[in-house]
Symmetry: C2
Subunit: 318 residues, 2 copies
C-alpha cells in the first residue's frame, strides 16, 4: 500500500508516527511543507521537514514537539552575547548541525530534495520525506501594527508575536513560480491513498497545495483522499490555526475546514467525537465523515487515528 | 607608550596578557596572524585571532589554551553523526557562534578587520586587535606521504597530523598578493616599541612578516624591536616549532631564531636562563641579548617576561 501524506510540523509528525505503527508495511511518502523555512544566521532552517525527520528518527524533544532531545543552547546564548539575533527563534546546539550540513550542501549546488534525502540517510525516518518544492517559498503574514499594515515572515508572526494580532492575509510568497520537487507528482500519481493529517489547513497543508500542480494532482488522482480535523470543539488542538483560518475567511470549526478543502479535493473527513454534531453537515457537502477520538495523546492514540483514516479511505473507495 | 605586538595563538595571547599587566597604561596594537585561518563547515575560522580575543577577554579555556571555557561539543558530535567532517578540528558550541557571526559579516561585505573589531566590541580585550591582512592567506605545508609529495593546510599538518612527518616547505599561499589590513602600517609607524612574543617564528610571526610591507615597515621604524625566544633548551616551549623551523633550514635553537630574524629586523632578543650560553653568539650577530626566565607558567611570569622585554627595548634605544 502506497500512502502519500501532506505534512506540516508537530501534528503531521506525530500523526506519521502513528501511521507507521498502524500500517507497518505501507510505503509512505511525505510531502513536507517548506513555507515556514527561514534563513537565520546565514543558515537555511526547515522547521517542518526537521520536525518530521527528528520525530520519526527518534531525535525529537518529545515534550516540546520540535527541536532535538538532550539539547543545549550554548551557541544561541553566545550569539545573543554578540548582540546577534533573532533571539526568539529556538535553535539548539545539536539542531544547528542539521542547518549547517543543509546549508553547505545547498551551497554546493544540491537541491533541497537531495539534501533532505541525505539528512534522512542518518535519521532513517522510515518514510520517504520530500520537500513540497526545491524552490524557495516563504509564507508571509500581513498584520497591522500601530495602525500600519506590514508583512512579516510566518515564523515572526507565529513564534515572536505568538499570533497575538489578527492575520489579515497569509501569502506563500514564491509559490506561484514554484514547481513541485522531483518525485512529488509521481508519488501522488502512484498513491493508493492520500492523507491530510491534522496539520494547519492554511500555513501547512494550504501552502503545500499552493504549489502549482500538487492540488490538481491530488484532485485528479482516482484514489481516496482522507483528512483529519485539526480543529476540535471549535479550537485548534495545538497552535493557533484559528488565527490564520480567520485570515482566509474560514471559521475555526471542524466542518468549515472540511468545506474549505471541498469535496473536489477530499473524499473523507474525520472529526473528533466532541464534534459528532457536524458529521451530517460535512456529509451534506459530499464528504464522507466519521467522528472518532482525535487527540494524539501518545503514539497509540495517533495509531488509532491513522487506522480510522485508513478505514475511512477503504470505505470511500468501495 | 604605544606598543605593537605581532602575535600568533596561545604563546602570543599569554604574552599579551602579561604585557597588559606589566604596562597597564600602554596602547597596545596586536597584529594577528591569519595564515592559519581555515574554512570549516562553510564558516570562516580564525584560530589565532580568536585565541588572542578569548584570552584577553576572559573567555579562554585556560587549560588547553584555545577555545572557550565551559565549552560543550554537541554540534560537532552531530556533524560527525551526519558523517560531515573534519572531526580532527575542535570546534565547540560556544566557539561556533564566533565563526557564525564572522561568516555572516564577511558575507555581508565587511572586511575581516571590521569584523574583528565588531567581535572585540563584545570581548573588550583591552588591545586593538588587527588581522595582519584582510586578504585571504593560507599557510600550506609540503609533506611527503607514502613517497608522494603533497601540500596540506597548516591546520591539517598541525592538528590532524600532529606534525608527525617532516615539513618540507611552509608556504603562506596568497601572501605575495596580500596587503596589510587598514591600520597595520600606521600602527607600526606610530609605535614606540615593537615586540615579537615567543610565538612560532615560521608559521605565526613569519607569516605576518610575509605580508608585503610589514617586514619593511618594522625594519625601517626607528624604534626598538625586541623578540622573545620560543625555543628553550633546544626545544619549543609549546607546539612543534622545531618541525617548521627545519623546513626553512633554521636550527631549533634560541640563537638561531634570533639570527634568522637578523639584526636588520630585531634589536633585542630575550633567551631563557637555560640558554644563557648563547647570549654572546646572539650579540655577536648585532642583537642585544639577555637571558631571563621565559616560561609563562602564569600571568605573573608572563608579566615579568614582558617587563624584561620593555627593559631591553629601553636599553637598546638608549
Amino acid at each position: 500500500m502506497r500512502i502519500v501524506v501532506l505534512a506540516g510540523g508537530i501534528g503531521g509528525a506525530r500523526f506519521l508516527r502513528g501511521l507507521k505503527q498502524a500500517a507497518p508495511d505501507a510505503e509512505i511518502t511525505v510531502i513536507g511543507n517548506t513555507g515556514d523555512d527561514i534563513h537565520l544566521f546565514g543558515l537555511k532552517v526547515c522547521p517542518d521537514l526537521d520536525t518530521v525527520m527528528y520525530t520519526l528518527g527518534g531525535g525529537i524533544d518529545e515534550k516540546q514537539g520540535w527541536g532535538r532531545r538532550d539539547e543545549t543552547f550554548h551557541l544561541k546564548e553566545e550569539l545573543a552575547a554578540y548582540g546577534v539575533g533573532p533571539e526568539w527563534f529556538g535553535l539548539g546546539d545539536r539542531d544547528f548541525a542539521t542547518h549547517i550540513v543543509r546549508t553547505q550542501m545547498l551551497g554546493a549546488g544540491f537541491p533541497l530534495s537531495a539534501v533532505t534525502e541525505a539528512l534522512c540517510d542518518r535519521w532513517q525516518p522510515g518514510v520517504r520525506l520530500l520537500p513540497m518544492s526545491d524552490d524557495r517559498i516563504e509564507t508571509h503574514v500581513a498584520v497591522e501594527v500601530d495602525g500600519e499594515q506590514r508583512a512579516v515572515h510566518f515564523q515572526e508572526y507565529w513564534v515572536r508575536m505568538r499570533a497575538s494580532v489578527p492575520a489579515l492575509a497569509v501569502v506563500p510568497v514564491g509559490a506561484e513560480q514554484a514547481e513541485p520537487a522531483p518525485g512529488v507528482l509521481e508519488a501522488i500519481a502512484e498513491a493508493d491513498i492520500v492523507l491530510f493529517p491534522p496539520s494547519n489547513p492554511v500555513v501547512s497543508i494550504g501552502t503545500i497545495l499552493a504549489v502549482p500542480g500538487i492540488r490538481e494532482a491530488i484532485a485528479e488522482a482516482a484514489v481516496p483522499v482522507v483528512g483529519l480535523s485539526p480543529i476540535v470543539g471549535g479550537a485548534p488542538v495545538r497552535g493557533m490555526a484559528d488565527k490564520v483560518l480567520a485570515a482566509i475567511g474560514v471559521e475555526a470549526d471542524a466542518a468549515a475546514v472540511a468545506e474549505h478543502y471541498g469535496s473536489g479535493l477530499v473524499d473523507g473527513w474525520l472529526v473528533d467525537t466532541a464534534d459528532a454534531g457536524v458529521v451530517e453537515r460535512v456529509e451534506s457537502a459530499g464528504i464522507r465523515c466519521r467522528a472518532v477520538p482525535l487527540m494524539m495523546t501518545d503514539v497509540d492514540a495517533a495509531a488509532r487515528m491513522a487506522a480510522e483514516a485508513l478505514r475511512l479511505a477503504e470505505e470511500v473507495s468501495a
